[in-house]
């Protein structure tokens, strides 16, 4: 049944857009882009790490591809991959040092890194300074530029499907399974004692997470045709964490659900910026207090019934198991 539902969703995503207006396609593109960001962030949140700086890696991917395209006229297709690789390399450099830290120390180090990245882009004329880089070209295919929303939508959809399938499969590999052993410092000590190289696994997970953010960051910039230090900010990093938390950490589909609801419906209903933050804050608070497993845990909670749910230790509710 699950497989049938997925096929239906993918078919709808592939077949319906030609019927949609450009604005609907714009929203769809924004949602898909953020779905990949959130799913990528989910890999490390699943290991108990909060990143207040994923926007930094998204920006690295975006800037890399934008610079390659505008300065060296390199194809955006290559730029997408290059963006991912640059983000991954810098994630490796930072992760190798900071993933030993847990909790707020790691979160702050990533935050600081993202702010440094942002400051460098702002400070140097080479990176466009505060004005950023304009006239970033759209990619071409068979000699034609993919200029319409519909054409670009399919680019985003392709990258999203590849990324999401990869990330989904990754968690069911031995590597993904081993990451589950690194959720807390106590289980990490146990994991080390049975021969798991925790530092290496955590670094690889962080690198994979940032690679996909970098790739999608590049795609995002070629969609906007523009990038500046004010596009990928701290607020994007926190929004992504809100999506993952609201959707729920207990299942792969949680972050996706949170992202679709908050970026899709949120952008629609509360287009004005201030209201968006307010709504996110309220939704997050309600979910944390009333539904620690996120929206994805709703069926799980209903099945157990309210009485037993209250009797369950908080930790287990916070991370209901995947089945």
């Amino acid at each position: 049944m699950k497989r049938g539902l997925l096929t239906l969703v993918v078919a709808a995503l592939a077949l319906l857009p030609p019927l949609g207006a450009p604005y609907v396609l714009h929203v769809a593109i924004v949602v898909l882009v953020h779905v990949v960001y959130a799913q990528a962030l989910y890999i490390i949140m699943r290991m108990g790490y909060l990143s207040f700086g994923h926007a930094g890696y998204i920006a690295l991917g975006g800037y890399t591809s934008a610079l390659l395209a505008t300065k060296l006229a390199i194809s955006p297709w290559i730029g997408f991959v290059a963006g991912g690789i640059v983000a991954a390399l810098l994630a490796w450099a930072l992760g190798a040092v900071t993933l030993k830290l847990r909790g707020i120390y790691f979160s702050l180090s990533v935050f600081a890194f993202a702010e440094v990245v942002n400051a460098v882009f702002r400070a140097f004329e080479f990176f466009g300074g505060p004005a950023g880089i304009a006239a970033v070209p759209r990619p071409g295919l068979f000699g034609a530029r993919l200029n319409t929303h519909l054409q670009f939508y399919y680019v985003v959809l392709a990258v999203t499907l590849i990324s999401v399938v990869f990330l989904y499969r990754l968690q069911w590999t031995r590597f993904g399974f081993t990451l589950l052993s690194l959720r807390t410092s106590a289980t990490e000590a146990l994991a080390e004692s049975i021969g798991i190289n925790a530092a290496r696994h955590k670094t690889l997970a962080f690198v994979a997470s940032c690679f996909f953010c970098g790739v999608m960051g590049a795609v995002h910039v070629h969609y906007l045709r523009f990038v500046s230090p004010f596009v990928f900010t701290f607020f994007l990093s926190t929004d992504l964490m809100v999506y993952v938390m609201v959707g729920g950490l207990g299942s792969f589909w949680g972050p996706m659900l949170g992202t679709v609801l908050l970026t899709g419906l949120g952008e629609q209903l509360f287009a004005a910026g201030y209201y968006k933050s307010l709504v996110y804050a309220v939704v997050l608070l309600v979910v944390i207090l009333a539904l620690p497993g996120g929206l994805i845990s709703l069926p799980h909670v209903f099945r157990r019934g309210a009485a037993t749910e209250r009797a369950t230790p908080a930790a287990e509710v916070a991370a209901p198991r995947e089945r």
Partner: protein, 253 residues
């Protein structure tokens, strides 16, 4: 098998271990005994690679492994349990043991991503192996139970199962019977003395004299970070220094 040479550990100005020396021969079941704060857990952590000693050396199978990482030692065949029952609490008993098999499994990332039939077959084989370890300890019935929900007695056996799944040469058990009822402790120690010691050498921390006398070949006693006794469990209660060390805190069960 295992040889400690003048192992010393200082935390700041505090000396937790002072020139501790002893050996453990292949196939032995040795108890490390001592009152609270004697340095047993510190020594355990050093042998298992959780942190390095300030001085001295740890020799394992003829190799100087002083300062090796915990996962490096695990790959050489040193497994351990923790004093505070530590499990992968949100996962099932079977999944806990599957983590224990980690060091014997190739990563096979591509095969896993593509879910190749050979990978699935291999995965089923791995699960059978993990189930075998649960069966060995008589807890296979709990294979699908969430580890955090299990009673303490079963959890303790599960921590041993995880360590045993690594197929260790040397197994370090940190108070395997602590918190268990008389019967549960007996069950645990019977397993340690039969099934488990057939497979590996065992060094355990214990301060319950019933267990030391009942199941162990040899006892090493630490007191204020120094070794004060190394010999048969029977000789323990006749040794004046051991009796003095335990005076007032005796736990002769």
């Amino acid at each position: 098998m295992l040889e400690l040479r003048k192992v010393t550990k200082q935390f700041g100005g505090l000396t937790a271990l002072q020139d501790v020396e002893f050996t453990v021969e292949t196939g032995e079941l040795v108890a490390l005994v001592g009152p609270n704060g004697a340095g047993k857990s510190t020594l355990f952590n050093i042998i298992a690679g959780a942190f390095p000693p300030t001085g001295g050396a740890v020799i394992f199978k003829g190799t100087d492994v002083t300062g090796y990482s915990s996962h490096g030692l695990a790959r050489l065949g040193v497994a351990r349990t923790f004093q505070q029952t530590t499990l992968f609490g949100e996962q099932t008993a079977l999944e806990n043991v599957l983590h224990g098999l980690h060091r014997h499994l190739p990563a096979r990332l591509v095969a896993g991503l593509l879910e190749l039939p050979s990978y699935r077959r291999e995965q089923r084989e791995v699960e059978r192996r993990a189930l075998g370890v649960l069966e060995l300890l008589g807890i296979a019935a709990y294979r699908d139970a969430i580890a955090a929900d299990l009673p303490l007695g079963i959890q303790k056996l599960l921590t041993v199962a995880i360590a045993l799944a690594t197929e260790p040469v040397l197994l370090l058990l940190d108070e395997p019977a602590a918190g268990l009822s008389h019967d549960e402790a007996t069950r645990m120690m019977n397993l340690v003395a039969s099934e488990i010691r057939q497979r590996c050498t065992v060094l355990l921390v214990e301060h319950n004299m019933r267990i030391v006398a009942g199941w162990c070949d040899r006892a090493v006693v630490l007191h204020f970070g120094q070794k004060i006794y190394d010999g048969t469990p029977d000789g323990l209660t006749r040794d004046q220094r051991v009796v003095d060390a335990y005076l007032g805190v005796a736990e002769i069960g």
